[in-house]
Symmetry: C2
Subunit: 263 residues, 2 copies
């Protein structure tokens, strides 16, 4: 889950939105924000008046290898300067009051950011200082606010986590991974014929040992066994193991010379 993997190969996607950290306090948080950006395929970082100055060595140390993002970050005196070349600006903000503004979920914002990028326009997302958040003048420069739906009893997110949620949703908005897929690695899911072959083997042995000797119940019992194996997306390799198990269990019984039905 951790460790440096491939930070050196971070490639800027020119269409990806700009992350703008407004008056960030701790350089370390700039580094962890850069790391979160890298997780979601974001690259462009702008810093508005960071309290501890810039560049700050602590940011690089905290970025887990997202150095390329920090190396390319630009410094800006004001929010207005940082957003001047952008067409659309969103502002993350947990609890705005007295404001008339569209409010997007992080997921809604990601969908709009993808749409903006597809139209060849540039967008940015403002993140406020660690404690106070964005002030009213900052928010007035934004087209829309982004508010993550989170547990209202516990909204506290640190800067890197807020960036992570936006970056994660940006990545997901273009990701087509199936919600569930069987990973089989070197083997493959058994064909129905392979499965049928195993089930025949199993039923033959169960007939031989008398497990299925109750004729009226036999069809239902066979069907239940079939349901168990059909459900599991059994692989070809697992079927071979199961064949072996059935053969070995049956051989033990045969070697003890008890081939007749038991119980």
């Amino acid at each position: 889950m951790t460790g440096r993997d491939g930070g050196a190969s971070l490639v800027p996607d020119p269409a990806s939105p700009v992350v703008i950290l407004v008056r960030p306090q701790l350089a370390e948080n700039i580094g962890t924000a850069a790391r979160a950006m890298a997780n979601g395929g974001l690259f462009h970082l702008r810093l508005v008046a960071p309290r501890d100055g810039w560049p700050a060595e602590k940011a690089w140390r905290a970025s887990s290898g997202a150095d390329a993002i920090l190396d390319a970050a630009t410094l800006h005196p004001t929010v207005a300067d940082a957003v001047a070349d952008l067409h659309r600006v969103f502002a993350t903000c947990p609890r705005p009051r007295h404001i008339v503004k569209p409010v997007l979920t992080a997921r809604g914002a990601a969908a709009e950011l993808r749409e903006i990028a597809a139209r060849g326009l540039r967008a940015g997302v403002l993140f406020g200082p660690e404690r106070a958040g964005l002030d009213n003048d900052d928010m007035a420069q934004a087209d829309a606010l982004v508010r993550f739906p989170l547990n209202p009893a516990f909204m506290s997110l640190n800067l890197a986590q807020a960036v992570l949620v936006v970056a994660y949703e940006w990545w997901l908005a273009a990701d087509e991974t199936a919600p569930r897929a069987l990973m089989t690695n070197e083997t493959h899911v058994a064909t129905k014929a392979e499965l049928e072959n195993f089930l025949s083997h199993l039923v033959d042995e169960l007939d031989a040992c008398g497990f299925l000797r109750n004729a009226p119940k036999r069809p239902g019992m066979v069907r239940n066994i079939r349901h168990l194996f059909e459900r599991g997306e059994v692989t070809e390799q697992e079927l071979r193991t199961l064949h072996g198990i059935v053969t070995e269990l049956a051989r033990g019984r045969r070697m003890r010379g008890r081939d007749e039905p038991e119980r």
Copy 2:
């Protein structure tokens, strides 16, 4: 974005899945994981053989007020012990190899966790140690693996961030916030009649000052002005401001005695 807000009011949702931290190294990471759980409405925390022992004061200091989760956390010697009473277990794992297992996205896992909860069953999610991640024996105890789709060039997530993604998706899976909504606070979106009233006022003044004197172009110009205001979900309060602006601008012109068309 930060600060302690309402940690004291964290209420355990009995249907919510259990977070199981397997051999976590740093107590601080247990605290930040608890904070991330709170963000997404998770409460039940189990610790398998934490390296630094338990309880550890550093966890409470790092939890930003998610104390109730840490207070209720239970300690377990093995993964088997920690999952014994659960019906379904998922394991977070970035890059499993040589394993046949269903792989879920975090979003897919959240949907399944909600479904499991709705059926009255208990589920848990395993998170591995900070560096090594879950080992093969840990993963063999899980029904399915959870792998977040993230930038393959930079998969590095710390423990709290991995917990945050799962908790966030758990929360989102039952959240019905609209992806975009206009926040109006004390005012309301103007009715079409209120908007029409303002547009009539504006067009009257534009006629008076000669801005619309080009008769063939007049309908198109009026329509474009209408498009601008219709698009913006203007509020009743903003319309009053706009009425005032138009009136004041027109009065200035009138006071200078230049009531005739200009330019």
